[in-house]
Symmetry: C2
Subunit: 327 residues, 2 copies
Amino acid sequence: MATIKDVAKLAAVSVATVSRYLNDSGYVSAEAKKAIEQAIAALNYKPNHIARSLSKKQMQTIGLIVPDIMNPFFPEIARAIEDTALKEGYTVILCNSDEQAQKELQYIETLQQNYIAGFIIATNQLPKEHYHQLNLPVVLLDRVIDSSVPSVTSQNEYGAQLATAHLVSKGAKEIAFFSGPRQLEPVQQRLAGFMKETANENMKTHIFESSFDFLEAEKVAYEALQQNPAIDAVFASSDIIAIGVLKAAHKLGKEVPADLQIIGFDGIALGEMITPAITTVAQNIYALGESATKMLIRLIRGESLVQEHVTIAPNLVIRQTTKESTK
Amino acid sequence: MATIKDVAKLAAVSVATVSRYLNDSGYVSAEAKKAIEQAIAALNYKPNHIARSLSKKQMQTIGLIVPDIMNPFFPEIARAIEDTALKEGYTVILCNSDEQAQKELQYIETLQQNYIAGFIIATNQLPKEHYHQLNLPVVLLDRVIDSSVPSVTSQNEYGAQLATAHLVSKGAKEIAFFSGPRQLEPVQQRLAGFMKETANENMKTHIFESSFDFLEAEKVAYEALQQNPAIDAVFASSDIIAIGVLKAAHKLGKEVPADLQIIGFDGIALGEMITPAITTVAQNIYALGESATKMLIRLIRGESLVQEHVTIAPNLVIRQTTKESTK
């Protein structure tokens, strides 16, 4: 394999000149530049990025940490981040933390020690101090730790209000909110939206907690719907939970939407694949990924952010699990 | 930030001694070892993996290239690879090639230049020569290029035979095979299994080609089922295609499985989430990922492989889209 010395020899310039050319870090004459480029092509020389990153202390790579690669929301957002990053000349390295602080730490340390340019973090297992100590640009996605770290999130409370108001307008009398894990900020915001929208309605409400895992959601929903047969509408904190509720409803012989209306949250592609297709509060997944990536790249380039905390409005997508008109 | 010099100073040993300790590359006395460990802890010193990899030419990281992160099969297999790799002390970097040779090349080059230890490649856009030129351990997963590169695959032909034989045994008279892209080897193998199993049956068969994209599969299935109303059974080359066929059948007012039986392929979690749950040829996704990872790590460690090409048998998982008994 060709070395920088081979390139210098063939181009008849010094190694230092080739190094300046490669690192774009000083004057190289037009003549030398041309000779170096020809030598690189002739030798099929690949500059050693590690040696270069030792001087530059930065590779053109973004680390993306997601909490659960099996939840379709995260592959979809990873695609958006990757698309945006590639356009800006960055590659994306994806790591799955599995909602475990230990794993998140392990990945961050591995990547940090290899001079990654910055992180997009869609999980929040670690205390905020840890992200400060990184001394690297970080943008939080989907989950916020505190105001000291830039973030991109959906307007979760607003989305929950859209969903709840829609169920009320379609004649719901007893609504259940199936939340995800209560310690997650998006879940708290969605709960707040649900509470706000039902506060002045003279109706019975329920709150059930489930993880974002399909099987657990189905189990929780089966018991909840069995014990509370008057529930006629469900707002679920994710599409996966909504699909679990739908499955439980089928098992209990309930017709959807006639006996039970269901609205999910996220807007993953899967929601449209199934029958009946799920009515949902669709997050603008692409815009979330794109904004986070653009913010991170600004930070990497040492530019200031126009806005430290970006929130993006979701929208209600009406499909087949809610009624077409009020009875 | 503390440097190796700070550690050496505090431990009262030479930099070379600390370096030998860090790289595990020569004698370090028990006394020196203890002093170095105390100094590292006191200074919160993080060894610079890049500088170390320059001498070792290998980081403890595996690159995984998948063709489509949005297809749930790949996140599931990524989880298996990550689990296995972490147990062996490797982290996994995941890149999405989007079935594009250009992107695959870009990721391989980025990772290669950063001294990645090896690759698991689940896509095959590049000519085999390229993988040879890498001079790095490579294991192919799911798709095989030729016998010169180690691989782990499912027994696709056998799986297709299981599915087809099951449909025949459940009374199917006119079976359609919905293949994925014909240039993919797993698709060719599944087609071969379908052909073999229907060859001696006195029945009408159809072959329709669709990508693995849900929306396209639904469209192809809608037209095919509309134009061929006598089709009473479908074997689909992926669960996503099977779900597209199911959706099309619903739109055409066909009852599943009474009017139309459907069997998918892959065994992704999604197949169980929906109603009716999809009967499928389940690949042993976890075993595929685990085997590929263990093989790659053997290669990285310079050990020989017990077997160059591992194939893993899938199994038929009977759910709700096929009949319980023959009419």
